[in-house]
Every structure is written in structure tokens, then in C-alpha cells.
Symmetry: C2
Subunit: 248 residues, 2 copies
């Protein structure tokens, strides 16, 4: 994607373009399925409608997710290609703060892509002088109700976890994890996606912004509340509606 190597810092959408650049570079490294670019574009549109910012309800949801992760006995961060490309370094920091593993779980699983993602996280582990366990390379359990490679997971990772953070998750998998009785924390810019609607805490915000906020919240050990997920999502919708009303 040489057309975007240089991003003008004065551009009104500089941050968004820099985020896009990370996705493009990860694509070149073989870390992503082709559909990852399309998925990223969908996210961009929703972020544009949110004003490319963390809205108050998203910050509340992020604090709630931090609380659930901190009080969890066996948390896991379940990362796909886009999440690793965009915020691999931040998620390693979070896993280190929590003392939990990262499990890589990708929709279109190939040995090449899996290898590229594991290699990328191991490189970052070293760079940050961390020792976070990276799971997912050799799955030995299955998420009930999911066919094919999507259902593959690791026994002492996602399978036994009580709390799973799933940025950018597909609806079916989110549903299947909920059906296993887990606390499922979703990061998804679309407030009406099945994942956002069907999880324990839905964070309607861009994944790198969320990861950075989690790093701030986790050491504060916030207390969990009776989270009303529908209320948080409606608040995000209301923000978008506000953006769109009486524009002309």
C-alpha cells in the first residue's frame, strides 16, 4: 500500500489514516485475510460517525471491562489478526498487567497466517521485555456449537477461561462463548452488531483507543457494577443519531 506511506499530520483524519496504515502493513506481512481490509473499512465508517473519539459511554464500558478482567479468576485475551495488527503491543501490556495469556483465534485459519501472528507477538514480547504466554498455535479443545476452525481453542486458554476479552469478534462465536457461561467483553465499533448486542459488556470504540484506556484503568482496580449493556449501546446509537440529525 505504498500510496499511503506518507500521512500528512495536518490531515483532519490523521489518526484514522495512521491506524489504516497499520492494517495495510500487517496485510503485507501476511498477518491478515483479505476480508480484514473490508472489516477495517466497516469499522472506519462507524468510527467516523462517532467522531473518531472515545464517547463517555464507551469510556464507562471500558472501565467496566477492566473491572471484570481484574476480578476474574481466569481471564484470557482472545485476539484476531486485526486486533494484533492494530494494538498487539497494548494487548501484551494488558495481559502482563493481568498475568493472563493471549490466545490467537482467527476466522480464516491458515498455518501461514497463524505463524505470522504468533511470530509478531513473540517479537513484541521480546521488544517489551515481557513474557506473556501466546496460545492458539496448537488447539486441543472446541467451543461447543461452532463448526470448523473457528471453534478450535486451547483447553487451558479460552476453553477454561471465565472471562474473555474479544475485540472485533464475529457474532456466532460471541454467542457460543456466552452459551458457555463466560463473561464476554466485546470491542466493536458497530453498536447494533450481534456481538455488541449479545455480550456481557460491549465497548463501542476503536480497538487501539480501548487498549490504551484499559492500560490506564486496570492498575486502578475499579469495582464491577451491574452493567446494563443495552443502555451503553443505546447511548452510542444516540451519539451517532445526534451526528446525523438536522445536518442540512
Amino acid at each position: 500500500m505504498n500510496e499511503e506511506e506518507v500521512v500528512d499530520p495536518e490531515h483532519p483524519r490523521y489518526q484514522s489514516l495512521m491506524i489504516r496504515k497499520k492494517i495495510a502493513e500487517a496485510g503485507v506481512k501476511g498477518m491478515l485475510a483479505d476480508s480484514a481490509m473490508i472489516a477495517h473499512g466497516r469499522g472506519e465508517a462507524f468510527d467516523y460517525l462517532l467522531g473518531e473519539q472515545t464517547i463517555p459511554s464507551a469510556l464507562d464500558a471500558t472501565r467496566e471491562a477492566a473491572a471484570r478482567l481484574v476480578k476474574s479468576n481466569k481471564p484470557v485475551l482472545s485476539l484476531n489478526g486485526n486486533a494484533i495488527a492494530l494494538a498487539g503491543q497494548e494487548f501484551l501490556t494488558i495481559a502482563s498487567q493481568l498475568g493472563c495469556p493471549i490466545e490467537i483465534n482467527i476466522f480464516y485459519r491458515t498455518p501461514q497466517r497463524m505463524g505470522a501472528l504468533i511470530g509478531h507477538l513473540k517479537m513484541l514480547n521480546q521488544k517489551l521485555d515481557l513474557d506473556v504466554e501466546i496460545m492458539g498455535g496448537i488447539p486441543d479443545a472446541r467451543i461447543p456449537g461452532l463448526e470448523g476452525p473457528r471453534g478450535a481453542c486451547q483447553q487451558d486458554g479460552i476453553f477454561e477461561a471465565d472471562t474473555v476479552l474479544v475485540p472485533l469478534e464475529d457474532g456466532d462465536r460471541c454467542e457460543a462463548l456466552m452459551a458457555m457461561g463466560k463473561t464476554v467483553l466485546v470491542i466493536d465499533l458497530n453498536p447494533i452488531s450481534r456481538s455488541s448486542r449479545g455480550c456481557t459488556v460491549g465497548i463501542v470504540d476503536e480497538v487501539t483507543r480501548v487498549a490504551k484506556n484499559l492500560i490506564q484503568f486496570i492498575p486502578q482496580k475499579p469495582a464491577a457494577t451491574d452493567w446494563n449493556n443495552d443502555r451503553g449501546l443505546q447511548s452510542a446509537l444516540d451519539h451517532i443519531v445526534e451526528t446525523m440529525s438536522n445536518r442540512f
Copy 2:
């Protein structure tokens, strides 16, 4: 993108997935910049909010665009990679109905990509037994105010045209064409993009649906009206707002 070769016709978003497949295939053929996938994803998100359908105000805008094209003395269809990938065949039919040329104009111009796009349209010309003139290969004029390859155009094509249909146009170029005094007809799923807001008639609809509707409208020779672009765009926004309000 072999992960999407088979699309289940029973899938609730079958049409959208089939459209996506066309983009992926065009990418493999070298017709698209990497950013085309991201742009497509952005469009998908807005189409999802519209319910993946032609809303009444978009149909009105399409009829108006047909009227403007029919009464034009020198219309041109200005197509980029995504428009050609998604509806090349339909746009050739429209150009043939109007007796006008197609001019290829792409944001990230390389000889390879230009060659692939011209080749694709020529192949379709033959397949449909049409003889539509394909311009853009050897630009000999410039759109005032646009730097770089984006400003390149053909003297007897876009430069001299009084009416230009520009599906999926970038905001700067739309503005520059308007500044030349042309009637600019935009197809863009984002009702608040600069292109949608700054053109003569903005059609907030998916490009293949619009192209098919234009093919129906053009032979009817509809009469042009005093089109209120803002009203059409607000109507699209209202539809999205309706989708988003009181969901929870």
C-alpha cells in the same frame, strides 16, 4: 480471497457478500488499490445502516440523475476501480444508452492498474456487443485545482463534459468538477461525505443498485426538476436515524 468463494444463498446478507466477492476478485486481477477494500468496507457499513436497499429518496435522486444525463449535451461517466469492478457491465450499458464515453479516473494511478481496468472494460464491451468509447488511458488535460494524477483527464472527455456521473468520488475532485461549472452526479453511500454534500445530485445508494435503476430510468427520459440536494441527503440520514433509534 478463497475464504469467500462460496456464498450461501440463504445468508441474510447474500447480496452484500456477492458484491464483496466482486471487489475481492477485481483485487486479484490487479484492478484495485489496496485502499479499495477499505473504501468498500466503509460503504458496506453505510449500506447496512440503510438496510441494504434502495430507499425512496435514493430512487428519486436516481431518476433525477437519469433526467440530467438524458438532457445533457456532453455527458461522461467517470469511473474508478471499484465502480468498474462492481458494475462495469451496467455502466457500459448506460453509456451506450446515452451515446457517451466512459473515462477511467483513478486516485492511485499506475500503468498496470489502468491497463487492467481498460482491458476489463474492453472485454465487457465485446461480450455485450457494444462499442462504448473508453477514455482515460492517455490524459491530455487537467482539472484545475487538483494536483498530481488525480487531476489528469481527457480534453474531449471529462474536461469538456457538461454533466459527469461520478460514482464513489473523492471530495476534492467532486469540488473541482463543480468549480468547473459542471453538473456533477454522485453515487455515495455516505450521505455526509463532502462529495454527497457538494454535488448537484447525490444518490445515497449502492453503486450496482443505482446502475441497474439508471438502466430502467434512462429510456423513460424523465424530466429534470429543481433538485434540492440537501433535502435528499437529509432524507437518507433520517432513514439511518430511524434504524438506530430506540433499538434497546
